[in-house]
């Protein structure tokens, strides 16, 4: 025990710098990671965490600075070299071949023989031992496509261990997991620590840092703003370090204009969804027999792990996708059923605003300039166009005004949208959709990949809309976001609504179980 207290740093970075063009992603980073620690690296999106770890893993080369492993100066030019030096990385997006088995994936690149036989069996034996040693429960002969996300992540961890990793880097490992799967992952990581492995955890979630790590390094704008022992710090302190000022973690919603306790009556029901089934592009039924009502002046939160039908539900409500059966009524009129289908343009005319889940794939044309995106979907209306001719001056003036109001930076209407940061792109969409005084607001993942400062702004705007009496449907995979914003919560699992709760005294544990499909 004593020798761990004075343990040597296994990994040391000295004055590491890295720029991309004029953007300096890492400035003078010096960092020590002790052997046998779980070391957290936390920071907002774009703080430079992933860049730094990519340098350690050999995906990028540092412009200057030293990397030492076990006090020896080394140079890492490729992931192959870092693997040889005992560094393993589990990426945010798994690098697995879907139609291969677990074993085949793990030995990929290290097969060692032309025709599989002896060495494959050897590998299996070794892997079985490894699994026992670290208490990883994986069926080695299972095909990846049959495994859930949590298991796939375990395969990635096993892969790194099999290749001799002493330092394991995990990049945002919990983004795609249910709360239960997160617990399992944490158990695995703790047992790895007990076996003497060093773990570096990149995340922007404070809860994980507090629950799991020994030490934490906070990064902001490419620089390290502090190192803390977890024992000596608090969540609020870390949040403040991340953002550079104190942040309200839960938002005060204030009272909505319409009293919450009112009895639901037909007049103020805006969306009425009755037993809808929705298929995706591959003809797979994604939304199964879903019914709910959305009323004036409330935020209805749809919780659930990514890929449980929320995307298709949102697309059905916003007129992008027709329902297969059942019906959706808006203000009492059917807008989608087996025979009726009202498209996005008409729905916009009916004051339905939609902030889509995936801003770059759906919400924006990133090749367009900001002003073109600020009128996107409303471009056919006055004063933006008159008899099919675009009114350049009106569009420009409007863009200037709205970019100022929503603090979109930089305020250049002619700048190509791909040059704006994620948060500002989201503000472009938000300002476009909110500025038209909608009666219904459909929002998907409003703060995904957005930094904390902008998150606060976006949340406040959503609550303002609700307080004005707008019916808001919020789809988010961030449980915290749902819990802090929604008045009512429904949970989607495998296409079905598995639970509905009024957001008073609901615990994240309770919702987490529902998200995992446990309803008893």
């Amino acid at each position: 025990m004593l020798d761990r207290m004075i343990s040597q740093p296994i990994l040391e970075l000295q004055n590491v710098n890295k720029s991309f063009g004029h953007v300096q992603a890492n400035k003078n980073i010096s960092l020590k990671v002790n052997k046998g620690d779980i070391h957290g690296i936390i920071g907002e999106n774009g703080a430079g965490k992933s860049t730094l770890m990519s340098i350690v893993y050999g995906l990028y080369q540092a412009d200057s600075g030293n990397i030492k492993i076990n006090d020896k100066l080394i140079e890492i030019k490729s992931p192959h070299e870092s693997i040889l030096r005992g560094i393993g990385m589990v990426h945010q997006h798994f690098m697995l071949v879907e139609n291969f088995t677990v074993v085949e994936n793990i030995i990929l690149g290290f097969e060692g023989e032309f025709v599989f036989g002896e060495k494959l069996n050897q590998a299996k034996e070794n892997l079985t031992k490894l699994c026992e040693e670290y208490n990883l429960k994986i069926d080695l002969n299972a095909t990846i496509s049959d495994l859930s996300v949590g298991f796939r992540q375990r395969v990635e961890i096993l892969k790194a261990l099999y290749r001799g990793a002493e330092i394991l880097i995990l990049d945002e490992p919990t983004g795609v997991l249910t709360p239960q799967e997160v617990d399992e992952l944490f158990k695995i990581l703790r047992s790895l620590k007990e076996q003497g492995k060093t773990i570096i955890l990149i995340t922007h979630k404070l809860n994980e840092i507090m629950a799991l790590t020994d030490k934490v390094t906070v990064m902001r704008q490419g620089k390290i703003v502090g190192d803390k022992n977890i024992k000596d710090t608090t969540k609020d302190q870390l949040a403040e370090m991340m953002v550079g000022r104190s942040v309200l973690l839960r938002i005060d919603k204030g009272k909505p204009n319409i009293i919450d306790k009112r009895k639901p009556n037909i007049e103020d029901t805006i969306f009425e969804v009755k037993n809808i089934n929705v298929k995706d592009n591959l003809d797979v039924m994604r939304v199964k027999n879903v019914s709910f009502e959305l009323r004036e002046g409330e935020i209805l939160g749809v919780a659930g792990v990514t890929g449980n039908g929320q995307t298709e539900l949102l697309e059905a409500l916003s007129g992008i996708r027709q329902v297969d059966s059942g019906e959706i009524k808006l203000f009492g009129n059917t807008i989608s059923s087996k025979d009726i289908f009202v498209g996005p343009r008409q729905l916009r005319e009916l004051d339905v605003a939609h902030v889509p889940e995936d801003r770059q794939r759906m919400g924006l044309v990133t090749e367009f300039n900001a002003s073109e995106n600020l009128i996107f979907g409303y471009h056919h209306q006055q004063p933006f166009s008159k008899s099919s001719v675009m009114m350049g001056k009106n569009i420009y003036n409007y863009s200037k005004k709205i970019m100022h109001e929503y603090d979109v930076r930089p305020q250049s209407p002619f700048l190509q949208t791909s040059n704006f940061s994620g948060g500002n792109q989201q503000k472009i969409i938000l300002s476009r959709e909110l500025n038209k005084d909608p009666k219904v607001l459909l929002v998907g993942q409003p703060t995904r990949g957005v930094d904390i400062g902008a998150i606060e702004f976006i949340h406040q705007r959503i609550i303002d809309m609700r307080n004005k009496g707008v019916a808001v449907l919020l789809v988010s995979v961030e449980l915290d976001e749902i819990l802090s914003l929604a008045d009512r919560i429904v949970v989607m699992f495998d296409g079905e609504l598995v639970g509905e709760r009024v957001n008073e005294n609901v615990t994240d544990r309770e919702i987490g179980l529902l998200m995992a499909g446990i309803t008893n």
Partner: protein, 372 residues
């Protein structure tokens, strides 16, 4: 290794003028090497090309005549490309467009000439558009890839025209498969005649007022793409179909629209060739302009101004090239096919070969200037 620069800091004239110019220069150097290997003097050849295409009025007339065709087919490709459609069928659409011009002028010869001209232009557009509509429809509603279908439609157009020229609208007094000529009054005014009207004597070149039509159409295309709702929606569909659907823009409608406009533009090549130059339909009169238009559009970055400049360049190569082959026996006309190929290679496929270095150089020197 050159570091990537911040693309927002690169001045527009570097990426839109300097880089293409460097690529072009390289293409010329490599072409010069070819000519040298073939046993001729590259410098002489270059001088001949420049003189032959710009040096005297008749030659310049030919250059502009070729450029007229390239502008039409280049614009045709460009507008479809803004909707991310590769319309390879310009050749066939131009052929059918020419048929439209001829049929209108031939069968409505009783109408006043200016009205015939106007209607003939509309007919060329209508026929070209109709020929492009079918692949567009199949792409939009059936998912048949427009590259495949437009290539097939080139062959169908070719076969159809041979059939018509041999069996239906053939001039029976002629040996070859051509139509009867149009009456003289309907011929579009030649540049040499216009010059003669003002008292200048200029030798023959096929340049006619279609060139002005091409410039007019260039402006129209610019306006359509960047200043109308239609262009906005087509570009949205082209860049991001998902987002277009989200915004209530129909990809199907816009795919068809882009193809139809593209076909209409390609069809206008028939105005230049049938009404302006040959005054009848010759077998295979589009002669590859439809295909070269693709290179012209790509080189001109799908912008009307770029297409105009690229058209001039290719017009210069066509005209100057034929002069060179005339004067330098070592160089065959196939050599100029190779030269065109090299230019397309350097300004198309290898477009980004030196871009990082050039951008890095300019961004850095400009910065030093502002900091000192």
């Amino acid at each position: 290794m050159v570091k990537a620069v911040d693309r927002t800091k690169v001045p527009w004239w570097v990426s839109n003028a300097i880089v293409p110019l460097v690529n072009l220069t390289l293409a010329f150097i490599v072409s010069g090497l070819f000519i040298f290997i073939a046993g001729a003097n590259p410098y002489q050849a270059l001088k001949l090309i420049l003189y032959g295409s710009f040096g005297y009025l008749e030659g310049f007339g030919y250059t502009l005549y070729y450029a007229t065709n390239f502008i039409f087919t280049g614009l045709a490709f460009a507008i479809a490309f803004h909707c991310r459609l590769f319309n390879i069928g310009g050749e066939g659409q131009a052929y059918i467009g020419g048929l439209g011009v001829f049929l209108l002028a031939f069968y409505f010869s009783a109408l006043p000439v200016p009205i015939v001209w106007l209607l003939a232009i509309l007919a060329s557009m209508l026929f070209g558009a109709a020929w492009a509509f079918i692949p567009g429809y199949l792409q939009a509603y059936r998912g048949s890839h427009v590259v495949i279908t437009t290539i097939m439609f080139n062959f169908i157009a070719s076969a159809l025209m041979v059939f018509l020229l041999v069996d239906v609208i053939r001039d029976r007094r002629q040996m070859g498969p051509t139509t009867e000529p149009l009456i003289n009054e309907q011929w579009l005014p030649m540049f040499k005649d216009i010059a003669a009207y003002f008292g200048f004597k200029v030798g023959y070149s096929p340049l006619n007022i279609s060139f002005l039509l091409a410039i007019l159409v260039s402006f129209g295309v610019w306006f359509l793409i960047w200043r109308t709702k239609w262009g906005y929606e087509m570009r949205a569909v082209g860049h991001n179909t998902q987002a277009a659907i989200y915004a209530g823009i129909s990809p199907k409608k816009n795919i068809i629209l882009a193809m139809v406009i593209s076909g209409a533009l390609a069809g206008m090549l028939g105005v230049n060739e049938v009404l302006g130059v040959h005054h009848k339909i010759l077998v295979n009169f589009p002669a590859g302009y439809g295909f070269t238009g693709i290179a012209v559009a790509l080189m001109g970055r799908n912008h009307p101004i770029g297409i105009f400049l690229a058209s001039l360049l290719f017009g210069m190569l066509y005209q100057g090239g034929s002069e060179v082959t005339f004067d330098m026996p070592n160089i065959t006309r196939y050599m100029f096919v190779a030269v065109q190929g090299v230019i397309i290679l350097f300004s198309g496929a290898l477009e980004n070969l030196f871009r990082p270095q050039i951008e890095y150089f300019f961004v850095n020197t400009l910065q030093q200037k502002t900091t000192t």
